[in-house]
């Protein structure tokens, strides 16, 4: 044991798990959330989310009946809310894979408390994101033409188009994320199978557990598969948003056509993802009393990641402006000047407030260690990242090369209903998840309670 002086000399590092837990109590505590009677507030929360999701379905029904003309898209702004929302959701979906895969490979054990949750969030965010490219089509019933499938027309997609790259990037990401999440769930599903009292639950969890008995061979295969999947998922963290950024960077539209886009988008995605994890974790840990598992240290670390990626994003903004100036191309320069002084300038200033100013609070430990303050910063970042995508998509398109074709864009009621509706879908899925699956990885938590291998490992000073 280290002396008190030693402890004081070290920077403050809260433990991953609060003291006093054993493997048994960890299992009890987490599985209880699932196996207990459904709390009242869950019905309320799920009900509201479900209603919002119904609004989404209404908006989509009307969209299919009438066409994308019910939205605000026009000439010259051919992409509006749909693409903004797509990029926003995809960005949010990045935290899960990053936490699960990259932090696993980097042996950041603190990830264990939040990875399950973040992975689920990733899946749901990708589900929300994945709908928009289909919804925004003029003829959505033909969306399958974007896939290379053998057909009587003898036609392939056009592989030079970044939208095709998108199809592959997003579908791969969704597949790998789902697999990764599911594989990680198997031991816990077995735990739930064993602990649930109801027959029906035992059967369903039993199916999900795929005959998991916890033998050494199982654990060996499991660890190998999990590590391989982590390795597979790691490049996806970088590739997905890189490809999404190509949608813009490949175009010749001033404000889109920039080589900085891939790294800048990836950083933005991680930034947004961590903000969303914080947004969801902070209320949930309070609701379920999981402060002992998701500790201030977790929140602190996430705050630090947000600060770092946020600074990269701001660097991206600066470089965009620098290269617009450096290009010597008048239209490029005009586009950025127009961002700051044109009719959408308020979006630009809101963006600076949310993404440049607000995260600077994270330099302060006072903010990082206060869930309420962190939550506020995270909300700023959520909004800021949506505005960022709006600024990129809309302000670049609305005044491009030929001044005769300049126009304005404004989301309609249906745009807003669709956007807010996907929040409902996201929350609905999330409520189902926390009700029926363990939101924290039980078996991984067992490895980090004090007295276990992982638990001791964390005690080793860095």
């Amino acid at each position: 044991m280290a002396t008190l002086e030693d402890e004081r000399a070290k920077p403050y590092r809260p433990p991953i798990v609060a003291p006093g837990y054993t493997t048994a109590t960890v299992t009890d505590k987490i599985s209880e959330v699932v196996l207990q009677r459904t709390p009242r507030w869950w019905y309320l929360g799920f009900g509201i989310s479900f209603l919002i999701m119904m609004m989404f379905l209404t908006a989509v029904t009307w969209l299919f009946a009438k066409g994308v003309g019910i939205w605000g898209v026009n000439q010259p702004v051919g992409w509006g809310f749909a693409i903004v929302n797509f990029v926003w959701w995809i960005g949010i979906g990045h935290a899960g894979t990053l936490i699960s895969a990259i932090l696993l490979l980097l042996r950041q054990e603190w990830r264990t408390s939040i990875n399950r949750f973040a992975e689920a969030m990733t899946l749901f965010a990708v589900a929300c994101a994945g709908m928009f490219p289909v919804l925004h089509l003029g003829r959505p019933w033909l969306a399958y033409w974007l896939f290379p499938y053998p057909n009587t027309m003898g036609l392939w997609p056009q592989f030079r188009s970044p939208l095709i790259w998108d199809v592959f990037a997003v579908s791969t990401y969704a597949t790998v994320s789902a697999l990764f999440w599911y594989v990680g769930l198997i031991p816990d599903l077995a735990t739930l199978r064993d602990r649930s009292k109801k027959r029906i639950a035992q059967i369903i969890y039993g199916f999900g557990a795929m005959g998991w008995r916890g033998s050494a061979a199982h654990w060996h295969n499991y660890e190998t598969a999990y590590l391989l999947l982590a390795g597979l998922a790691t490049p996806l963290v970088v590739s997905v948003h890189t490809v999404v950024s190509f949608d813009f960077a490949i175009g010749i539209v001033p404000g889109w056509h920039a080589t900085i886009f891939p790294p800048y988008f990836v950083a933005g995605a991680i930034y947004a993802g961590f903000a969303m994890v914080l947004t969801l974790t902070i209320p949930l840990r309070a609701a379920f009393g999981l402060q002992d598992f998701i500790t201030l240290r977790h929140l602190q670390n996430m705050g630090k990641v947000m600060l770092a990626t946020g600074l990269i994003v701001v660097y991206g903004y600066a470089m965009e402006f620098f290269f617009a100036w450096y290009s010597g191309h008048h239209v490029e320069q005009f586009t950025f000047w127009n961002r700051v002084t044109g009719p959408y300038k308020y979006y630009w200033f809101s963006l600076l407030l949310c993404n440049l100013l607000a995260p600077q609070a994270l330099w302060l430990r006072k903010v990082r260690t206060s869930p309420a303050r962190l939550f506020i910063v995270a909300m700023f970042v959520n909004a800021g990242m949506w505005i960022e995508r709006f600024v990129i998509v809309v302000t670049s398109l609305h005044r491009d090369f030929l001044p005769s074709s300049w126009g304005m864009y404004r989301g309609t009621m249906w745009d807003w209903m669709t956007f807010i509706g996907t929040l409902g879908l996201f929350l609905s899925l999330l409520f189902l998840f926390i009700r029926f699956l363990p939101m924290i990885s039980i078996f991984e938590m067992r490895t980090i309670v004090p007295g276990t291998r992982g638990g001791e490992y964390t005690e080793v000073p860095r």
Partner: protein, 1062 residues
């Protein structure tokens, strides 16, 4: 909801006789939805009434529960109707013998003419299996030379307009033609004993020799009957000519001989019956080429910006009183009017005046001054005097007998009628050819009140309108494309109108109506027109000089032009029925005109006293704002209000659609504290209207402009659009009112402009910024003739162009055809004929005002308008922008499904079937020429509109992208025909729709691989440049830079007009 029983004949509200009559007169594939609709019951009309144009089919309106139930019950009623309507018993058979020339899938062209205000434009109408779909100019016709104006292009839509009146109405209820004939003839018989006292005829301008002969016959039969004329957009040229020459002479210009042209407010290149020809003649004098660096020079003095002013070499904005003073000063400076009293307050105008006068005097006989025919008669008299003094009369301007039959001052003529009506002296009033005085009569003439006192008022027109509602009889007219008839062009040349299709709704022509009232109820206009010409054509198809010695002037003033006879000559050897006449008649129909019917020049001597009087009338400028009225550039005096193509056609300068507006200059608006789109009240001596404000750079200060034709109360889809100017117009103030008061009413009225119009915050700042940016980006490259003479390559040298090999990809060879287009910005007036031509040719849908406001207009070809120089006194530029068909097309690489691909002839093809609608191509198109079907814009539910579509062009569904195809259907047709005939496509043989319609031949299309084509030569010209060519898109559409020929004496006066290219 009173027709749901589904039991026919049980409906007391439906007049079955009327229904039968309607069914009998209906032709073609027309369907009905209920008995009420057939009977045109008001309730049903109300149900049909929609806020948005039917052709636009505003989709988002949705179907209300009530509307749905009505339709459902109407379907039930229809089901019942079929049960007790007898099916036709005639045997129908397919062609046993193929009719000559009729090849399914191949169109036929027929020469005919279309009229506006009675004056004809010779056209070729394209007919697909008996349905006219497109109008082209008649290259042999002097008013057309192969091009058209916007009205002619849009005529096919009026023909198929589902809102056309479809039956004879008696007191608003369906009636029969026979019923009309018997009642009208009964009424006439009663008047016969009185010599026709109480019989009145009201028409617009008449140039038709056949109709004129009929009217003359009628007036001879009823000596006390009177013939009145009302033409809301007639101008003052008649009054001015009477004053200047003592008789109504018409002036005809010959721009080919004019080196220096001055327009005093006249928009002669884009407005009026001769505009198409004038534009061609004028621009022929300014096509600068490598080996031809010569240009005529145009000075435009105008109060508001016009297409003519926009291609002028010098443009001076003067308020109407200043313009009058300028005219007087100019007359004095060239010695046309005595004295030197006229002073110009503005030193710039003074300097201008000296330069213009010097330039004019240096070119006697080769100069031309054109007055605004809507301007004051005094100015027009002075201009006649100026042209006489400069020796232009007989050279650049010739005077002829008037083209209109018996020309009168329409205001005076209508005033007499209104007086008599209100005095109860009018018993029978016959209004022909859609004249609509209830809407358009001067505000001080109580026409509607008088009309109520007329016992039998008969209205004949294409539409039920404001006037028809007051009339006992409404006769549904046949459209000109359904009619036999004849008409004169601006120069007097006669064309015979031939029908392309049997009247869709059994409409009658004016000729038939008059015949029915002249005891020939069954005479068809074919017989009547043929009969008229049977005595006047000789075997060669020329006028027969023996029967028509060149015109006979009669006491009534009928016919002083060749081809007009006062008395029908007894059938001679050349008469009807003879083989010689048949051949001659066919030849005339084939060529589309009767040769040698042009009005010959007459000598015109100006009366010195008139000039002195005119000079004396020009008073010092009155303070305050002068309000000007002008016919609208797209819907004219309101007669085209129901034509959705013309409504949605952006006005050449303001780019407004679907509305007119009270136009003010930026400074005047600022002074009056009026904002863009703000509602204002116009008060002209107590007469008031409300109108939305539009701030228009290029308008003179203290001048307000309001176009006529809007604010219709009964015009179908256009009802309520815009602001009615007629309540301000009195007989004394037809075209301008000095000293009007304008005040804000607060509130906004959204105006739908297609260009640079803020959606969120109304203001004209964006217009200004856009023009500055366009200038900086050199979207429109322009320079002067002097610069060109010094260095012909100055346009191309001013800006770097990427090298052809600046690409990673190998150069694609185009071994066969390589289609390309050249657009000469120097001669484009912005008249917009090309835009409507494209719309008609390519089945481009109309979207309606709401969608235009959302920036979703669908025109494949747009004309961009930019201002350069001082925004308060701008130079105006027009730039037609079709698809550029880039060789390195940015749209193609981003389409995920390969729906837009490059053809081996260099076309950027759009595959509608493959398009899924990502709109990525549109985002990535730097020219923003792509158009997306955000909603279902094509009307697929109105049966009659299906006839309108060009069968060679796909009608696009919602959710797909579309854009200019270079009229690929015409290219393919030419290729097929060449292949069949085993020869290459002859040079310049193939024209796109826009090119064909262009009056100034600014657009040239062709195979740039073949040096014989005109386009290849133009692309080798030093003025050739590609729009945004620095992006290395390598556009196939390129532009010829706009050159101006400024007078060195005025150098420095127009700051900012020329910079950047020196």
């Amino acid at each position: 909801m009173d027709n749901h029983q589904g039991k026919c004949g049980a409906e007391p509200s439906v007049d079955l006789e009327a229904v039968r009559e309607r069914l009998r007169t209906k032709k073609g594939p027309e369907f009905w939805r209920s008995l009420d609709e057939l009977a045109a019951a008001p309730g049903f009309q109300e149900m049909l009434h929609r806020e948005f144009p039917r052709h636009a089919s505003e989709w988002t309106d949705g179907v209300s529960r009530r509307g749905f139930l009505q339709l459902a019950s109407a379907s039930l009623a229809l089901a019942g109707l079929t049960a007790c309507t007898r099916q036709p018993t005639e045997v129908i058979v397919p062609y046993v013998k193929q009719p000559e020339q009729l090849v399914p899938g191949r169109p036929l062209f027929f020469a005919t003419a279309l009229t506006v205000s009675g004056l004809g434009l010779g056209v070729l109408a394209e007919s697909h299996q008996g349905r006219p779909t497109k109008i082209e100019g008649n290259p042999d016709h002097p008013a057309s030379l192969g091009a058209t104006d916007v009205f002619a292009q849009a005529a096919v839509l009026t023909l198929y307009d589902p809102e056309r009146s479809q039956t004879v109405l008696q007191s608003g209820r369906p009636a029969t033609w026979g019923g009309f004939v018997s009642e009208a003839n009964g009424a006439l018989r009663a008047l016969q004993a009185l010599g026709g006292d109480g019989l009145r005829l009201l028409t617009g301008t008449v140039t038709s020799p056949t109709l004129a002969a009929q009217i003359q016959g009628l007036l001879q039969k009823y000596p006390k009957a009177r013939w009145h004329r009302w033409e809301p957009a007639a101008g003052n040229a008649h009054a001015a000519a009477v004053r200047a020459f003592g008789r109504p002479l018409a002036a005809r210009y010959d721009f080919t001989r004019a080196k220096v042209v001055v327009t005093l407010g006249s928009d002669m290149l884009a407005e009026g019956p001769g505009a198409v020809r004038y534009a061609r003649d004028f621009t022929d004098g300014r096509r600068v080429r490598r080996d031809h660096a010569e240009m005529n020079r145009l000075y435009a003095v105008e109060s508001f910006p016009t297409p003519t002013g926009s291609i002028a070499d010098h443009r001076l904005q003067l308020s109407p009183p200043q313009l009058e003073a300028f005219a007087l000063a100019l007359a004095q400076a060239v010695g046309a009017a005595g004295g030197t009293g006229a002073t110009l307050a503005d030193p710039k105008a003074e300097k201008w005046l000296q330069a213009v006068a010097t330039d004019l005097k240096a070119n006697p006989g080769a100069s031309l001054v054109v007055a605004d025919e809507y301007g004051s008669p005094a100015v027009q008299v002075l201009v006649h005097a100026i042209n006489q003094a400069l020796g232009n009369a007989g050279r650049t301007v010739v005077y002829t007998e008037p083209v209109a039959v018996d020309p009168v001052d329409p205001v005076q003529s209508l005033a007499e009628l209104v007086n008599d009506m209100n005095a109860g002296r009018v018993d029978v009033l016959l209004m022909l050819d859609g004249v609509n005085p209830v809407y358009s009569a001067p505000a001080d003439l109580p026409f509607a009140a008088g009309l109520k006192k007329v016992r039998v008022a008969i209205h004949h027109g294409l539409f039920e309108d404001e006037t028809s509602g007051y009339c006992r009889w409404h006769l549904n007219a046949a459209h000109e494309l359904e009619s036999w008839g004849d008409a004169r062009a601006f120069d007097g040349t006669v064309s015979i109108l031939q029908p392309l299709i049997e009247p869709l709704y059994g409409g009658r022509t004016a000729i038939e109506v008059l015949a029915a009232l002249s005891d020939q109820p069954d005479a068809t206009s074919y017989d009547l027109v043929r009969g008229y010409w049977s005595t006047r054509l000789n075997a060669g198809g020329n006028l027969d000089k023996t029967t028509d010695p060149g015109g006979v002037t009669t006491a009534l003033g009928f016919g002083t032009l060749p081809g007009t006879m006062t008395q029908p000559v007894a059938a001679t050897a050349t008469g009807a029925g003879t083989a010689a006449f048949e051949a001659a008649f066919r030849r005339v129909l084939h060529t589309g005109l009767v040769p040698n019917t042009q009005a010959p020049p007459v000598s015109a001597v100006i009366q010195g006293a008139a000039v002195q009087q005119a000079a004396g009338e020009i008073a010092a400028a009155a303070p305050g704002v002068t309000l000007l009225f002008r016919p609208d550039p797209t819907i004219y005096d309101g007669r085209f209000a129901s034509n959705a193509w013309l409504q949605e056609l952006p006005k050449p300068i303001s780019k407004l659609t679907w509305d007119n507006a009270l136009m003010l200059s930026p400074k005047t608006a600022q002074r009056l504290k009026l904002e863009m789109e703000e509602m204002a009240e116009v008060n002209a001596s107590g007469r008031k209207i409300r109108a939305a404000v539009w701030i228009q750079p290029g308008l003179a200060d203290d001048t307000a402009l309001l176009h006529l034709g809007y604010g219709r109360q009964n015009a179908g889809k256009a009802t309520g659009a815009g602001f009615n100017a007629y309540p301000l117009r009195t007989s004394q103030t037809q075209w301008s009112i000095p000293g009007v008061e304008l005040r804000s009413l607060g509130g906004r009225y959204p105006l739908a402009s297609t260009q640079n119009h803020h959606l969120l915050e109304p203001g004209w700042d964006e217009m200004k910024l856009a023009s500055e940016e366009a200038e900086r980006r050199e979207v429109i490259r322009h320079g002067t003739l002097d610069q060109f003479r010094k260095n012909p390559n100055f346009i191309q040298e001013a800006r770097e162009k990427p090298a052809a090999d600046e690409t990673l990809y190998p150069k694609y060879p185009y071994p066969g055809h390589a289609w390309g287009m050249s657009i000469d910005l120097g001669v484009c007036t912005g008249c917009s004929s090309c835009v409507v031509a494209c719309q008609a040719e390519n089945n481009v849908p109309v979207v309606g005002k709401e969608q235009v406001l959302k920036h979703r207009a669908m025109h494949w070809l747009r004309i961009d308008r930019y201002f350069s120089g001082d925004i308060d006194e701008p130079t105006i530029h027009h730039q037609p922008v079709p698809c550029m068909h880039c060789e390195n097309a940015p749209c193609e690489i981003v389409c995920p499904v390969a729906a837009t691909v490059h053809s081996d002839e260099g076309l950027n093809d759009m595959v509608y079937n493959r398009c899924v609608g990502t709109r990525y191509c549109s985002n990535n198109c730097p020219y923003k020429v792509r158009r997306f079907n955000f909603l279902r814009y094509s009307d697929r539910t109105t049966p009659v509109l299906a006839l309108l579509e060009n069968p060679d062009v796909t009608v696009r569904m919602r959710g797909v992208m579309e854009k200019c195809t270079y009229c690929v259907q015409r290219i393919e047709e030419a290729k097929i025909e060449s292949k069949v005939e085993g020869r290459p496509i002859p040079a310049n043989w193939l024209k796109t729709a826009c090119q064909q319609a262009c009056p100034t031949q600014a657009i040239v299309f062709g195979d740039v691989n073949d040096p014989a084509w005109e386009v290849t030569k133009l692309k080798a010209e030093p003025l050739n440049y590609g729009l945004l060519e620095e992006l290395n898109t390598r556009p196939r559409t390129t532009y010829l830079a706009k050159l101006r020929n400024p007078n060195p004496a005025l150098a420095g006066l127009e700051q900012g007009a020329e910079h950047g290219h020196a």
